[in-house]
Each structure stands twice: as structure tokens, then as C-alpha cells.
Symmetry: none
Subunit: 222 residues, 4 copies
DNA sequence: TATGAATGAGCGTTCATTCAT
DNA sequence: CATGAATGAACGCTCATTCAT
């Protein structure tokens, strides 16, 4: 029974401790990942880029990835040309949005890699992701769906996420909290599937779904 | 803990189990939509309807729901006008495809409602759905995603599925194989999520993911 | 001096004998070159195809090949979709227009291959082409310019034209009227160049330019 | 015959031969457009103007006049704003490029006006122009095509060229080398047409084409 | 003055849907 | 009824031109 091992800090999370401060401390700060092409980017340009990215996230979450680029421009309050200046392709825009979300998750995962309670850290992170996805529906669908292919350009971010999540998983397994016969692939699939499903569930049902998945992931007391 | 949250509103769904009406014995046959307008439909017209529906299933599974209606017509070997005669809207075509899939699942579920081994029946059905979805990728995405909204017109089929699955679930719970604190809503969500995720997984990983979910669903031995 | 060899029938051609009946007896008749894909093409579809082709010729001649496809549709009195149904690409439309012109020329050339006066036939044809190009300006520019590359799909038509013109040339050379040291390539280049230049010349100047070129092409009396 | 049509209006063009003003000794230098607005133009500004003009010539020759202004800026190593500061319109940039080319030709023509061998000078110049155009394809297309209209603003340069070429022609005719019944208009047309055609010809063919045209232009020995 | 970010009209093209054949 | 040609709104994207920095 799941109740045996008190998943205290992770389970009752629908009181949303982590969700209060969303992944990615500043949603879209000025010099976004200066690592890419060393272009400092003028102040106003950076501001516009952020506006577009934010609008894109909202629009795609709300209307699906089929939403028009014009709608993104409108919502961002810029001309269509501006959107295409920053993201020369609709695909690249989608990629950037997804990349940002993944980066946020990677950050959260990394922040937990050294946690004193490895099991708690693992389940906490899992729940955080599912919770966020529930809000940003369509985008999370992309995460699980075509997104995973679309974000080809963000291989780096994905690797980061995989790396950090891998650490979380291994430590939880070493601590005997998570069963030893699952790998990163299984966890990612469960994460994606659960996130996807969580989108249209009420909080209570979501909690129970998570409870099932978590129980399945836990080491059998046997 | 999740265990003490009564899944009240989702559970009672199986209060209306299997509908009396046999609902489409052969997946793609003559007048399955008899529920809407009692038009007998000339033999060749019915044949065309079936051809279109089959083609649509293939096309959308292969190319995604963004595939053009023309492509469906081409694949079905009929004119575009014929497609629109039978399904006046692309959405209605999508709905019909999804409805057919759901009907197939409902049938499978019903076939297992009287099984001697209730637990086996339940997990067997779950696995069957996930396996099928893994092949028909795009459609399964629809199942889990927009599909759930799109199939609004097929409330009857959905009810049938819910009914039969409800029976399967209840019996498995009564047999003590499936934990008592999950309801139909949770199971459907897990089914959808797992199906969705299964699409891009190799068989071995898929098996392991299912194993986790099944373990989570099982009554804890404790 | 050009006057020596009376180029009578060809020279005074500004009295336009040939131009009265333009190349291609019926400008764009219904089943356009049934040789291509054996599709009979419904009556109204053929009519529209012709309307589009005619409009395209006019529009491109008037506004240059940069003219918008919408303008062609407008001028043809059809929807934009109709243009694209018949010519799935702007390039294919350009190609078709050019192809039609070339086909007309090929036809004219062939009609003269058996002429009793080989020299007259050759110069007559040359003049005809230049005269037509003078009217259909921009398109002729294409003929001479990028057109020659653009019409890649109409290699057959070009071969036909080259073949017939080759006959005309050879016979004129055998008759001792055209100098022996020029080949098809030179003649085509002169044809293209002269056509191109003729576009913005008044009739008198055009006649004198042709006179110069013809004199250059004639066998030196020496 | 063409011979008896006096080319009256075209011939008189050489009544205003070579302008007194030396007109741009080095193709791309400081204030050649001094004719328009007597702005001395700061040294660096002049340098930028020249860089842009050079880049534009290359870009348009290489990519056609459809090439983007951004590409010109990039190639010139300046910002897009700078291009538009010097040439407020793409058309004006095209005009300037063409003007420069024409100015170069005018210069070459003037340099030959006093040649000891008037016939040689004339044909030499003709060949030079055709040869240059063969390399700078797209621009030569402009010369012969829209260019003739586009360069409306450079009437001065065109007059210069016409003047000098008029002198070349008249002297060659007076020397009995070029037939007397052609005027400036005819020669310019032949020049344009031949240049245009030369673009896509191999050297040997080009030579033969020129040979034909030159023979046509020569006084018949008879 | 030079820069390059912003703008938006316009383009080629697609596709769900309608309607004459 | 079936057909497929016609339609036109909408989309992704480009580029000449403007304007804040």
C-alpha cells in the first residue's frame, strides 16, 4: 500500500509548494542563454524576443501548436516581421518555447540532485513536472508528442535534463526508494504520459493517478 | 494520502454499465451511425462510407490529423465530394474515426466482462489498448489529446466504453487484484497517458512501463 | 550591300503578312497538347485552364514575370485556387506560358521546312519571331533570359523548335543563301538577342536592325 | 529596302558629342553624383557610398536584381540603414549601379573617339561592351531590359554614352567601314541585344555571333 | 551619421468546403 | 449520388522601408 512509505513531501504537493515559483526563475530574461551565439542583443531587441517567447508559450498552450504565428505576434504586441526576425521559422519558435520549458525543468532537476532525501527529491521533481504540464496544456502535449522530435535543435537542453534526472533516479534507486529495474527511458515515458494525461484532470484525480504511478515506481517492500 | 480521498464522482460511472444495444459488431460496417438519422443508406453508399473511414484511419495514423481530406479521398479511391457527403466536416470525420476506435475497444472490453479471471481480464484489456495505440500513433495521440474533446458527438460510444471498462475495473477490485482507491477516471487517464507514451517506445521499454503502471494499480500485498 | 540579294518577301514584312495570323492558330484551345498526361480534362476545366494561360501571358508580358499570381487570377476572372490547381507552382505557370509560345514558334517553323524558297523561309521565320516578341515584351525577355532555364520542363517543345529551325537553317545554307559557318546556337542567340532588343523599338528601326542581322547572316557574295 | 528609310531621328544624336566634364575617372569614387545635389559628402560617407555601390554591382550581377537590399548591405559590410541613406530606394540603387556601368562604357567610348583607325575603334568598343556584359550577366539584362527605363534618372550619363558612341559611329561611317544606313538607335539596339544574348554563350559561339553582327554592320564591299 | 530592429504589405501556396457537371 | 473543379480565407515567410538607439 502506498500509505506505508509516507511520501509526505511529495504527495500533498497539490498544495503546490513548487508551483508557486514556476520553473525558470525569471520567465524570459534578457540575454537568453548567452552560450549560443555571443550576440549581446540590444536591450529592446531582447525585450521583444522575450515578449514573443512569452506570447508564444501562452498562445500555443491555449490554441495548440497549430495556432498562427500572426496570433503570437498580435498577442506579443509586435509586428509579424519581428517574430520572424527572432525565430526565422515557426518550427524554430516552437523549438525555443519547448527549449525554455525543458531548461526550466532541467534547472529544477539539478537543484535537487544533492538533496538529503533522494527519494523525496525524485518524486518531488516528477510531481512538479506533471503539475506544470497540467497548466501549460498544449505545450506539454508537444513535450510528449512531436515536440520530442521538434526540439532537435535543443539537444543540449535535453541532455542536461536527462543528465540531471538520471542522477535523481540513480540516487533514489541507491537509497532503495525506487525499484532498480527501471531506467531513464521508462521514467521519461512515464513522465511524458502522466503529464499528458494530467492536462484534463481535476486535482484530486491527478493526485490519485500520481499515487498509482509512484507506487508502481517504488521498490516493492516484499 | 491518496488512499483516503474518495474518488466519488469518477467511480459511479459504472453505475450504467454495458448498453443493451450491441453497437457495431464489425468495426467498419454499414450503418453504425444508425443512432443519428435512421437513413438506411444504399449499399454502395455504405460501402463508400466504410472505404472513407478506413482510409481516414490509415491516413491520420500515418500523417497525423493535419493530413488533408484530399489525401483521405485519394487513399479511399473516391472523390473529395464523397468524403464530404458522408462526413460534412473534417472534424466529423475525425470524430467518426475516433468513435470507431473507441467502439472497437468497447467491444473488446465487453468481451471480457464475464471472464473467469477478473484481474487478468482487466490488465489484459489495458495492455491491448496500449499495444494498439503504439501502432496507430497519431490516432492514439488524438485519443489522449484533443480527441477527448473532439469525440463529443460520440458520447454514446464513450459511455459504452466507460461502462464496460467500469465493469472490468469493479470486478478486478472485488477480486482484490486492483486497489480499491482508483476509479474509472484514474484508469482512463492512465490508459490514455500510457498509450500516448507507448507510441515511441521499443517493446522492451514499453513492457517495463506497463509493469510499473500495473504494479501501481495492484492491491498492495502488505 | 543587303540590297543586292533582294530579301523581298522577308524584308518588307512590316506590312505584317505573318503577324496578321499569330503563331498558334487557336491561341489556347481546349485540350492543350493531349500528349502529356492523357487526362481528357472536363470542358469547363479546360476553358479555365485556357483563360488562366491567356491571362498569364498578358500579365507577364505587361508587368514582367514578377507579377503576382493573384493578378493573373484576377485577370482570368477565376479564384486564386484555380490557378494553382492547373499550375501548382508559379514556375510551372511561367513554364506553360513560355512553352506555349515556343510551341507556336515550332509550329511556324515546321510549316516552313518544306518551302520552295529555303532562304525566304528561314528569314521569314526569323522575322516572324522577332515581330511577335516585339509585342509580347516581357515574355520574350524571358525567352531570351532566364526563361531558357525556366522552361526545363518543356525540353520536348524546345527540341521541336530546335529541330525545325535546324532544318530551316540547313536548307537555307545548302541553297547558298545563309553563310555556312553559323550553327543553330548562333542563330538562336541572334534570334533571342534581336527579339529582346526589338521590344522597345519603333517599326522602322526594328526593320533596319533586322536588315543588319540578315545581311550578316547571308552568304558573302565575295 | 531598309536602305531607303532615312534613320533621321536617331542619327542626329551625335550632334551633342562628348560632354566637357570628364565624368568619373575611377569607376567607384567619391562624389560622382555631384550633378544632383552639391553636397561634398564627408570622407567616410563617400567611402560607404562606394562600398555599397560596388557590393550592389556584384550582388545584382550574381543574384539578379531580385536580390535583397540586405544582401547588398551585408556584402558591403554596412548596415541596411546606410544603404538606404545613400540610396533612398532600391530602384535608385539599381539606377546608380546601371549608371556607373554606363558611365564606364561612356568613358571607354570617349577614349576611342580620336583613334587613328575609326572602324577598329568602333568595332573594338562594340566588342568590349558585349564582352563585359557577358560576365556581369544580370546587370546586362538590366541594361537591355528594364534598365533602359530604370535609368531614367541618369539621362546625363546616357546622353554622354550616346554622344561618344555617335562620334565613333559617324567616324567609322565616314571612313567607309560601317554602312551608312544605320543610326545610333540601331547600333544601341544591336549592342543591347547582342550583350543580352552573349551572357549564356561560350566564347567561340559569342565570337561567331559578333562576327555575324559585324559583317552586317560593315559596308558591303560590292 | 551609422546601425539594425521593427514594421507590415504582399507573395506563393494549402486546404476545407461548395457546387456545377 | 459521385465527382472533382472552383473558391477564398488563412498561413508561413520575405523584404523594402522606417525609426529608435
Amino acid at each position: 500500500m502506498a500509505a506505508d512509505i509516507p511520501p509526505a513531501e511529495t504527495q500533498p504537493a497539490e498544495t503546490q509548494p513548487a508551483e508557486t515559483q514556476p520553473a525558470g526563475t525569471q520567465p524570459t530574461k534578457a540575454p537568453p542563454a548567452a552560450s549560443r551565439s555571443a550576440k549581446p542583443l540590444r536591450a529592446d531587441a531582447a525585450r521583444n524576443r522575450a515578449k514573443v517567447l512569452d506570447a508564444a508559450r501562452d498562445v500555443f498552450a491555449e490554441l495548440g501548436t497549430g495556432a498562427s504565428t500572426e496570433e503570437v505576434a498580435r498577442r506579443a504586441g509586435v509586428g509579424i516581421g519581428t517574430v520572424f526576425r527572432h525565430f526565422p521559422t515557426k518550427e524554430s519558435l516552437l523549438e525555443a518555447v519547448l527549449g525554455e520549458i525543458l531548461a526550466g525543468f532541467a534547472e529544477q532537476a539539478k537543484a535537487r540532485t544533492g538533496a538529503a532525501d533522494p527519494g523525496g527529491a525524485f518524486f518531488d521533481f516528477f510531481q512538479l513536472v506533471v503539475g506544470e504540464s497540467a497548466t501549460k496544456n498544449a505545450v506539454s502535449a508537444e513535450l510528449a508528442g512531436a515536440g520530442i522530435d521538434i526540439a532537435a535543435g535543443r539537444a543540449d537542453v535535453r541532455q542536461e535534463l536527462r543528465g540531471a534526472l538520471g542522477v535523481l533516479l540513480t540516487r533514489a534507486q541507491e537509497a532503495g526508494v525506487v525499484r532498480a529495474d527501471v531506467g531513464l527511458g521508462e521514467v521519461l515515458a512515464l513522465l511524458a504520459g502522466t503529464s499528458q494525461a494530467a492536462g484534463k484532470l481535476d486535482v484530486a484525480t491527478r493526485a490519485r493517478v500520481l499515487d498509482v504511478v509512484f507506487d508502481g515506481l517504488r521498490s516493492q517492500p516484499s
